[in-house]
């Protein structure tokens, strides 16, 4: 482990390198390295500019607005926030998950599988495949989707179409591409028509075939350079996520399970409504983002990772046949126990794409998704907790309302927050093992971004106004003077500016 690189002893005597913002992740993050005179890394940190004031954004609003409102927190996974909020407000109208009408439960799951599929497809094909197919230190001009489309046109196009299909599932289930009102308190506001069902069924076999192909591709890429993939940014850790009652992989509803680095279960089938009893968040002075940890293990030992790698490490099996076969092959990389390779996030993510595609096919064959029995209601409550497995990991929404149904308290733990410590550990591992002592170049610094990108962090702002978010890299000497500066503008132009 590399905890000694979190805080250097005499930072004022060291050179500072800043990668700001980290590119090809959602939102704004930056990495700072402090180097001594021999370019040895003495401190490495990933800082994140978190959502600002999202609790304030929610408080004071009537609860029924939440499923629509929270979608605007994030331009990348609006459906995840939509569903987590919907699960929480189900409880506010007295409905527990097991009492949701079967049609509503299945439609929400269909919506969620569509979201996970399109989110994972974007991440792999668009944002990560350039690194994986061309190499982490390849020419910067190659590290983009256009180069993938030129060099591997079939793979690139499959990525575009997988993404499109997931978006179509969302659109048909929720009624709109974005800001859909699919899920409402106690159910869903529409079912699928026969023509909508038929439309989605038309392409699902092809989607499954492409998903299978993508799993084969990532397995080949990973195994073609196994020692490197198993070492790069790799850290043993605890893992946390939802699983079904029978231990199967679960995205929409289940109990919380956590395992330690050796695969021993720390806790299992925990009711997520009691998450506060098991998870606390620590604040550190150098970043806006909190550090969640398992209370039972404490701040130093209790940090954990979430997301595709965590889910595949935590579950006992996957209940769709092709994805299960892929999971068994994947787990062989960890001798059947735990896989800690950070780059294996990509492999796990694509197995989940295959599971989503198989699950979508199964749900499209279920007549319940066209039922009109969509909403139920119980006795009003004043507190609700909704937890789902979002594409990037476990997502918590917790609300309290007053007698007028106005939200008085909101707490959200987003997946990327849970991976904060893991991402920092991976950055330190790469800094120590791959950068330390070398003359820093852009391709070398891309290694840091590759490590972070494996987690698919969502540092979302969803604001995308033209002219925002240039990349800036500064080299500062021991006296604090900037001795070199590179700026990557929004249009991709790189300028050396001192």
């Amino acid at each position: 482990m590399y905890e000694n690189l979190e805080t250097a002893k005499s930072p004022e005597k060291l050179k500072r390198v800043v990668v700001d913002p980290v590119s090809r992740v959602e939102g704004h993050g930056k990495v700072t390295l402090l180097l001594d005179e021999n370019n040895k890394v003495k401190q490495a940190r990933l800082h994140i500019v978190e959502f600002r004031g999202f609790e304030r954004f929610i408080q004071g609003r009537p609860y029924w607005e939440l499923p629509v409102l929270v979608q605007r927190l994030c331009g990348i996974c609006p459906v995840s926030h939509h569903l987590a909020a919907a699960k929480a407000i189900d409880q506010l109208v007295g409905v527990d998950p097991e009492n949701l009408p079967p049609a509503a439960d299945k439609l929400r799951r269909l919506l969620h599988f569509g979201q996970v599929l399109q989110s994972h497809a974007l991440h792999f094909f668009h944002l990560s495949s350039p690194d994986l197919l061309f190499g982490f230190e390849s020419e910067i001009s190659q590290r983009n989707i256009i180069a993938v489309l030129n060099e591997y046109p079939d793979i690139g196009l499959q990525g575009v179409k997988l993404r499109k299909y997931g978006q179509e599932v969302i659109r048909r289930v929720s009624g709109k591409r974005i800001h859909g009102t699919g899920a409402i308190a106690g159910g869903m506001n529409k079912s699928l028509t026969k023509s909508e069902r038929d439309y989605l069924q038309k392409d699902i076999k092809q989607i499954i075939a492409w998903a299978q192909g993508s799993v084969a591709l990532i397995k080949k890429v990973h195994c073609s350079n196994l020692p490197y993939y198993d070492d790069f940014a790799t850290i043993p850790s605890n893992y946390l996520g939802l699983v079904k009652e029978n231990g199967a992989l679960e995205f929409y509803h289940g109990g919380i399970r956590a395992k330690d680095a050796k695969g021993k279960i720390i806790m299992d089938q925990i009711d997520y409504c009691n998450y506060n009893d098991y998870i606390h968040e620590e604040v550190r002075s150098w970043t806006y983002m909190k550090f969640p940890y398992l209370t039972a293990l404490g701040k130093e030992e209790g940090w954990y990772r979430v997301g595709p790698l965590a889910r595949l490490n935590n579950c006992d099996f996957i209940d769709t046949p092709l994805a299960e076969q892929a999971r068994v092959e994947f787990k062989q990389q960890g001798n059947g126990v735990m896989v800690h390779s950070t780059l294996a996030f990509h492999w796990a993510r694509l197995i989940e794409v295959l599971h989503c595609a198989e699950s979508i096919e199964s749900l499209l064959n279920d007549a319940d998704i066209m039922s009109s029995d969509l909403v139920t209601q119980g006795e009003k409550r004043f507190e609700g907790v909704g937890v789902i497995e979002a594409p990037r990991g476990t997502l918590f929404h917790h609300y309290e309302v007053d007698e007028n149904d106005i939200v008085t308290k909101a707490n959200l733990i987003v997946s990327t927050t849970s991976n904060n410590r893991g991402m920092n550990e991976s950055v330190r591992q790469v800094a120590a093992e791959y950068l330390s002592g070398q003359e820093l170049t852009e391709p070398l610094l891309n290694n840091l971004e590759v490590a972070i990108r494996a987690y698919d962090p969502c540092l979302s702002c969803a604001t995308h106004a033209v002219g925002k978010m240039p990349l800036q890299l500064e080299l500062v000497d021991a006296e604090g003077q900037i001795i070199d500066k590179l700026i990557k503008h929004n249009d991709g132009q790189i300028e050396r500016n001192l």
Binding site: F57, R72, L127, K161, R163, Q167, H179, C461, V466, N490
Partner: protein, 159 residues
């Protein structure tokens, strides 16, 4: 078969002036031969929305716009914005050209000047003024949905 003219606005209703494009779309009248789409941001799969269109109008908020709005014709550009979660429309055209092996349809961008983009904020007063002007301008475009008229309007930068 040719599809309707596409008007594609993108932005987040709850991010201050980023709401300019979706708010503009809400004010456009439904017209035959015009299809309106809305999303948070542009992504690769939106290239497929350009298929078989005679003309496309993108609408976005812009901090770089020096006037109330700016109207330009787009060309495919490999500008690296496709390495982010939010692509530029010119990069989207480049993706279209790469996957379809043909030139994209004539595409135009209406940029509306925005100033503040914080979560939970409403439109700034200046952006609200800009929106009003941009609505009038885009209605003129949709009242005259032909390439010659739109081309003549390019460079129309209202101060």
């Amino acid at each position: 078969m040719s599809k309707p003219i596409l008007v594609f606005g993108y932005g987040n209703l709850s991010r201050g002036d980023d709401a300019l494009a979706p708010l503009l779309l809400e004010q456009l009248e439904n017209k035959e031969g015009i299809e309106i789409l809305n999303d948070f941001q542009l992504q690769i799969e939106h290239a497929l929305d350009l298929e078989n269109r005679s003309q496309v109008l993108f609408i976005d908020a812009s901090v770089n716009c020096q006037t109330a709005f700016n109207f330009v014709e787009l060309q495919p550009i490999k500008d690296k914005s496709y390495t982010t979660h939010a692509m530029s429309p010119a990069a989207l055209l480049q993706v279209y050209q790469t996957i379809k092996h043909q030139s994209p349809p004539p595409c135009f961008l209406l940029s509306i000047q925005g100033l503040s983009f914080e979560l939970g904020e409403g439109l700034s007063s200046k952006a609200a003024e800009n929106l009003s002007l941009a609505v009038t301008f885009s209605q003129q475009l949709l009242d005259n949905p032909n390439l010659d008229f739109w081309s003549q309007q390019t460079g129309n930068n209202l101060a």
